[in-house]
């Protein structure tokens, strides 16, 4: 990969990582920011809602208290009580009825009537609760206030003899005639039970109520039932709330009759606290706080936010993964392309190479052909010269007779050579243009070989007296079908060849019938076949002889193959010299092949 491209890739990857990291960081911060904003908004909504709801609850409580009061008032206006009949059956029945009526509004433990001195004259209560008749209630604060103000009194919390923390609604019995104080009717309500009508007063993990009396005593505490009846500013409660300043402040303002809200955490989780005084008329009689653990507020939104956050995150991850996949694919694609390019390049190189090789081979062929023409020309010129020179010298007048005969021989020999050369070149041309025709006849190959060997021997004697030429045969009758003159030519080619490379020694021709063929060999004791040209031996223009055209063996091969035979050559394994062998099919009664042989190749 070029350096430049590599650099760009790295820069690209680096940028992608930076962008991804930045996106994630941005996402995270925006998400957190978003969440904060959403939470704040939700909180605001909750605060609003809770404030309104607290108002409503306090109004309800107030109205319920008024209802109880009016129920008691109704009784106080009854004729019996107006006539100071504060006990007896009639009163009991009345009370009974009243008791039932009161319990429809809220749980009332007991309702009782006291005389002007605060002594209980009659009472009605739930079974199992103690009777209070004749008990003196005059010292109770609410009795004092009722007697003094002649108005309904909503008492502070007090612990009953049975240990239950209560509040009492006291209605003075006033004479309608002259307005003198007759006695009171008191309804005792269990504090916690009362406030239970308006909300959760026992489960700290949900939104709960806390209610106070004017002195700050806890009438109901959702956070802890143990604290009921304790003063808010007392040790036990303060320890419970870890002296939380915000809550303390808030409660103080509440007890002053102010509505409000605050958030705080005294160690049990953050809380949203909305408060309002419970009014009957225009005066606060009790005080209410509605407390919500903020994680409750957020729990819903938290899960939504989480889901949304997760969705966004997954989207981001998805996008990142897609990018990674794309990058991966691109890289793969790139490497595939690279592979393809290098494959193509290799193919191109290969094809280039093949073209080069083909070119070379063509050039070689051209060169070889040129070479052939040169060599052919040389060969043609060579015998022409002695002919011309001999004739020239023969024209001299005082020529010795032996010279005359020598020159005549020279002319004869070279003329023959020239003629053979011309024929060779012509043969090669015919073979190349596929117009070589064979004249087929049946004859005895043995006879042909015999006469060729004889003629060759005679020719050789003139040049090399040291060379012996012999013919060994096994069968005297070797009937073949073929072209006599071409087969003679073949034999001469092989013998001439042997002769060229064998100055001293012998040339041996053998013939032997082997199954359907005759095998003929021509071996010599000469220099042998050059290892380099052995594979190209029968090709055109290949020669190690300086006097050869390089065509002889090519023509020989073509003649053999045209007759349906095969030709090969090798060096003798244990001696100096070469051996050429060829086979020809024998003529047989069913020999169709020989009949069909006509042209070369």
């Amino acid at each position: 990969m070029p350096f430049f491209t590599l650099n760009i890739m790295y820069i690209g990857v680096f940028l992608v990582i930076i962008i991804a990291a930045a996106s994630y960081a941005l996402f995270y911060f925006l998400q957190k920011d978003n969440e904060k904003t959403i939470r704040e908004s939700v909180f605001e909504q909750q605060l609003d809602r809770q404030s309104k709801s607290t108002e409503l609850i306090t109004q309800r409580i107030g109205s319920d208290l008024r209802l109880i009061t009016s129920m008691l008032k109704e009784m106080s206006d009854s004729i019996y009580l107006q006539n100071a009949m504060l006990s007896g059956d009639k009163i009991n029945n009345l009370l009974d009825e009243k008791f039932r009526q009161l319990n429809t509004v809220s749980r009332v433990d007991s309702v009782l009537i006291t005389d002007e001195n605060g002594i209980i004259t009659t009472q009605n209560s739930w079974k199992g609760l103690e009777t209070f008749v004749n008990i003196d209630l005059s010292e109770r604060e609410y009795m004092k206030v009722a007697r003094k103000t002649l108005q309904p009194v909503y008492s502070d919390g007090f612990t009953g003899i049975d240990g239950i923390y209560r509040i009492a609604v006291t209605v003075p019995i006033i004479s309608l005639e002259d307005g003198h104080y007759i006695g009171t009717i008191v309804a005792n309500l269990p504090a916690v039970e009362f406030f239970r009508n308006y909300g959760n007063v026992h489960d700290i993990d949900s939104q709960f109520l806390v209610s106070f009396d004017k002195k700050g005593y806890l009438l109901a505490v959702g956070a802890s039932g143990v604290l009921v009846g304790k003063n808010f500013f007392g040790n036990e409660t303060q320890i419970f709330i870890n002296h939380n300043p915000i809550l303390n402040n808030l409660t103080r303002t509440l007890l002053m009759g102010k509505a409000g809200s605050a958030t705080y955490d005294y160690g049990k989780g953050e809380r949203l606290n909305t408060q309002a005084p419970i009014l009957v008329g225009s005066e606060p009689v009790y005080f209410l706080q509605v407390v919500t653990p903020t994680d409750r507020i957020y729990s819903n939104i938290n899960s939504i936010l989480f889901t949304e956050g997760t969705k966004m995150f997954l989207l981001l991850i998805g996008t990142t993964l897609s990018i990674l996949v794309i990058v991966f694919i691109l890289r793969k694609w790139y490497s595939i392309l690279e592979d393809q390019v290098s494959k193509r390049t290799a193919e191109l190189n290969e094809s280039n190479y093949s073209l080069k090789v083909a070119n070379e081979s063509l050039k070689n062929k051209d060169e070889a052909q040129n070479q052939f023409i040169n060599v052919a020309a040389h060969e043609l010129r060579t015998p022409i010269q002695p002919i011309l020179n001999a004739i020239y010298l023969m024209e001299s007048s005082n020529l010795a007779p032996e010279k005359r005969s020598q020159y005549t021989d020279i002319i004869k020999r070279n003329t023959q050579k020239l003629s053979r050369l011309a024929e060779d070149i012509l043969d090669v041309t015919k073979i190349e243009s596929k117009t070589l025709k064979l004249v087929i006849e049946e004859f005895n190959l043995h006879d042909l070989i015999l006469s060729v060997v004889e003629e060759f021997r005679n020719n050789v004697r003139l040049v090399h007296s040291d060379l012996s030429v012999d013919y060994k045969f096994i069968d005297k009758s070797v009937l073949v079908k073929g072209d006599k003159s071409r087969l003679s030519q073949l034999m001469f080619i092989l013998l001439d060849n042997a002769g060229k490379f064998t100055k001293y020694g012998s040339i041996l021709v053998t013939s032997q019938v082997k199954s359907n063929n005759v095998q003929v060999t021509v071996e010599d004791t000469g220099s042998g076949i050059d290892q380099e040209i052995l594979p190209q031996l029968f090709k055109k223009f290949v020669t190690r002889s300086d006097r050869g055209t390089g065509l002889g063996l090519f023509i020989a091969k073509n003649i053999v193959e045209a007759h349906g035979g095969i030709i090969w050559a090798e060096n003798k394994p244990h001696q100096k010299g070469a051996i050429f062998m060829f086979t020809l099919p024998l003529r047989s009664a069913n020999d169709k092949y020989a009949d069909e042989v006509s042209t070369g190749e």
Binding site: H378, T382, N389, A390, L393
Partner: protein, 135 residues
């Protein structure tokens, strides 16, 4: 091989074709005052030249021969005695460039294109002999 009289002037004809060599030998034997030798083996010819280097005035050689080609023979002859004239015969087309090169270098003094006629042979040899006389 006998060393000849240093007064004689020797010409050799070297060609692996016996007919060519025989005819040239016969033709050149008519030259007076010159001893003609014929060789079909250039290596043997070279030996003879070495032995008689003072007497040799000219060699006439074929280009293409087994063992030692005509050009190498001419070079070696010049190394032995640069005054010996060298004429090469070839049946190949004479490459002018090659011709000029070797002539410039003084290795080959003359070329004869085969088929060489006897008349042409004499003409070239006379020319070379006179050039030899001058040097």
């Amino acid at each position: 091989m006998l060393k000849e009289n240093t007064n004689s002037r020797i010409i050799s004809v070297i060609d692996d074709d016996i007919d060519i060599v025989t005819l040239f030998y016969d033709a050149l034997s008519s030259l007076s005052g010159i001893m003609v030798y014929k060789f079909t083996d250039p290596i043997i010819a070279l030996e003879h030249i070495k032995m008689n280097k003072e007497s040799y005035i000219l060699i006439l050689s074929d280009f293409r021969m087994p063992g030692l080609n005509g050009l190498e023979l001419a070079k070696k002859t010049k190394d032995i005695n640069k005054n010996i004239r060298t004429i090469l015969m070839t049946a190949f087309d004479i490459d002018d460039k090659l011709f000029d090169k070797h002539v410039k270098e003084g290795i080959i003094n003359g070329f004869l294109q085969k088929p060489v006629e006897i008349k042409a042979l004499f003409s070239e040899i006379s020319k070379q002999i006179s050039l030899n006389k001058e040097s």
